[in-house]
């Protein structure tokens, strides 16, 4: 782990991504992106990003961004680390017009200390800032990192208060506050973690923060997890260096059934062979920012997605063509009558109720003949029902439920049924980071696991509804190769 000194004290640098590459021989715990992956993103380096300095970890703030940078604040006065590098500070750049950015400025002198400041996270109303800062230490002691909190009151940022779980014995930083303000995610190398820096979460408990909870080994690895960002939709993005090359890659995870799912790596162009981190996205995921040193120094990149984001997808419901027909009034005299049902597809069923599975969709004229046992009279067609059997209105995924790792799995959307919805394109999220498009796709899962495959469809725009999106997901199980 790279160290740097502040006022003669050693501090682990959780800001510095250019750490020593660790070659791992242990099994890769995190799911890696499959080989076949279509590019559905467009990125560009943000013009406010400097060629000479490190700029990273942007967050949305007042029609612009707030980010962390070690750019020179004042050419006349320069404070340096013991390694001769600039300290990091918190900067703001506004987006004045489309694609035109203002020159970055310190967000506030009140938030600028003599040491490192940033990265940051804002409350939804923008009036509370959570940020990382060195905790002053005595000579000979490491200056740990902690989280500090300041509020914007009467036009200025208040004196920062320390987060209650800051410690002189370990680092706490990289805060990310949830959309409702009830959870604060952060990283720490506090004892009893999974190794290195882990991601923790504190939940609001009355007027205070509850104790930190480690997100567990599904998310945290023996390596370092950093730069968490909790999206309003509930996805947690973060970076980890727990891979063969030891560079930072961006992953996301989300809670399903109160469990964090196996992290999924973002595909290219987010992740590269360099350090990629500090991901934030808009509410609908259509745009956002991330940081990378792919251009030698840390730069901020904006992105927008060309792959529609499908959220709140329902689980696929199997089309079921089996029904029970019955006499609705129910005051049926079984002692002196019996029923004969003509199901409209050539099937005849005797009985009070007719349970029948149709072969396919269609319109069936179901007729009820009543036979009076006392008179022997056949009362034909006493009631009829023009039964319209349709598929469930949903995108539909046809595939196997279980497959072997390394085996080609075919996914077909042909039974998709959506009324008044002219499909423009089909989008597939294979659940392992791979995305694809088209009515039919094939995919090979490299590793055993449980994957949620999402099929999203986008409509042709129409004057009334514009472009609409529908989606479903289907869980498939990938087992060990034969």
């Amino acid at each position: 782990m790279t160290l740097f000194t502040v006022q003669g004290r050693l501090t682990p640098d959780i800001f510095n991504k250019m750490g020593k590459r660790i070659t791992l021989t242990a099994a890769i715990l995190l799911c890696t992106c499959a080989a076949i992956s279509q590019e559905f993103y467009s990125i560009e380096r943000l013009p406010v990003s400097s060629d000479r300095f490190d700029d990273f970890s942007p967050v949305f703030y007042k029609n612009g961004i707030v980010f962390t940078s070690n750019r020179t604040r004042n050419f006349m006065i320069s404070r340096l680390t013991m390694e001769g590098e600039n300290f990091f500070n918190i900067y703001h750049a506004g987006k004045e017009e489309e694609e035109k950015w203002s020159s970055p400025k310190l967000l506030s002198r009140n938030l600028s200390s003599n040491y490192h400041d940033g990265p940051v996270s804002f409350s939804p109303d923008g009036n509370t800032i959570y940020f990382t800062r060195n905790i002053p230490a005595n000579d000979g002691e490491q200056a740990r990192l902690g989280i500090f909190i300041s509020r914007y009151i009467n036009g200025s940022w208040s004196e920062a208060k320390p987060f209650p779980y800051n410690s002189a014995d370990y680092n706490v930083g990289h805060p990310s506050i949830s959309d409702d303000g009830s959870e604060l995610y952060f990283v720490s190398d506090m004892p009893r973690g999974q190794g290195g820096l882990d991601i923790y979460v504190c939940s609001v408990d009355g007027d205070a923060w509850g104790p930190p909870v480690n997100l567990g080994e599904t998310v945290n690895s023996p390596g370092n997890e950093k730069f968490p960002f909790i999206h309003p939709a509930g996805r947690l993005y973060f970076s980890t260096d727990h891979n063969e090359k030891g560079n930072l890659d961006i992953y996301y995870t989300e809670r399903r059934n109160n469990r964090w799912i196996n992290p999924i790596a973002l595909p290219g162009p987010f992740n590269s062979e360099y350090d990629d981190f500090g991901y934030v996205a808009s509410d609908n995921f259509d745009e956002g920012y991330f940081s990378s040193n792919r251009d030698e120094v840390d730069n901020i990149y904006s992105f927008f997605s060309t792959f529609p984001v499908f959220s709140n997808c329902d689980s696929l419901q199997l089309n079921d063509y089996c029904f029970v027909f019955y006499e609705e009034r129910g005051d049926v005299d079984t002692a002196s009558f019996y029923f004969e049902w003509d199901m409209g597809d050539g099937t005849k069923i005797d009985g009070l109720e007719a349970e029948h599975c149709f072969d396919t969709t269609g319109t069936y004229l179901v007729r009820l003949n009543v036979i009076d046992k006392l008179t022997g009279e056949v009362m034909a067609n006493k009631a009829s029902y023009n039964f319209l059997l349709e598929n469930i209105e949903q995108p539909y995924i046809t595939s196997v439920d279980t497959a072997f790792a390394g085996e080609t799995v075919r996914f077909d959307s042909k039974y998709t049924f959506l009324k008044n919805f002219q499909i423009d394109e089909y989008y597939w999220d294979m659940g392992d980071g791979t995305k694809a498009s088209g009515e039919v796709t094939e995919h090979i899962y490299e590793y055993p696991g449980i994957y949620d495959v999402t099929l999203g469809v986008k409509s042709v725009p129409d004057p009334t509804f514009g472009t609409r999106k529908e989606c479903v997901y289907k869980t498939i199980v990938i087992i060990e190769e034969k």
Binding site: V324, F325, Y326, E327, E328, R329, D331, D333
Partner: protein, 322 residues
Amino acid sequence: MKKIILISLFLAALIGHTPAQPVPTEEENIPYLVTFGGDACPSWGDDNFTQTFFFLVPEEHTDPVYIRVFNPGTGSSIDEINGVWNTRVNFSIYGGNEAWSHPDAQETEPVGNYRSGNQMASKTFGSEPEYLETWYTFGPFNPMEGEYVEKFGGHIFKVIAQGVEGDDGNLYRYYLSTDPDENIPVEGGNAFAYSYTFRLWNDPQQVSHIYPFIDEETVSLKVSNFDWDYDGEIRVASTVRQGKLLTVSGDDDWVVDEFEIFPEEQGATLDIQFHKQESPLIRNNNAVINIRNQYGDLQPFFVVPIGGVPQYKYSIGVKRRE
């Protein structure tokens, strides 16, 4: 009170749309009414040797009416002989105040002032050939001489057939006519009884019906049947009741069945069906039936069913298989 008026108007409106009226009607498909001589045994199918019918002439009808009786004498091939023909049956017509409205008139048993009202005609028939298998006409009667009953929207004449002596069975029919010599129906006319004594068909393929009109206050019914000789099934149907089998009485036996009625059956007509058994075939079977609600009020059987013959409305429901 307002509710009663509304019910009455509704009933009158329904009656006003019905055609008239032999007794029994084609809808009832009952071969003959039956009254035995006063010395007969009830086990032969007549519990009290008296049958009371009320004939309703709508108030719009002001021309004279006639009440005609087919086969009023007892001695034809239609009638039921026991030994020798020795039976005399009296037919009496009543109108005026309390002909219908007197409580005794609406009971099943010929006790108290059941002959209430003004007697307008009366004749007793024996085995004289001229009264066998032919029509005898009472009248003319001015409709205004009947008791006016607002809830029925017309005037009512009461006809009591009562066995005076003998032990034979007199089988007969009525017709409310506008003509003394022909059966010309009174438009909108009807007839009803609170207790029905009638002959069942010998042909088991024939199904007879009676049509009680259930008032709005009724929530449950007691159906009493007498001397059915276990001959087949009695089934109750309505627009919301496909069929409910009732207990059938044996020989010289009363059986009472009680059941709740549905809200849709309040202020509506039930269809009580009589299905004879095929084997063993019982011939010349006579039976009695009446219906009371939870208050003990008898429910009238209209020969022309109010609102038409109720048909059970089948409706298909569908649900996903679980």
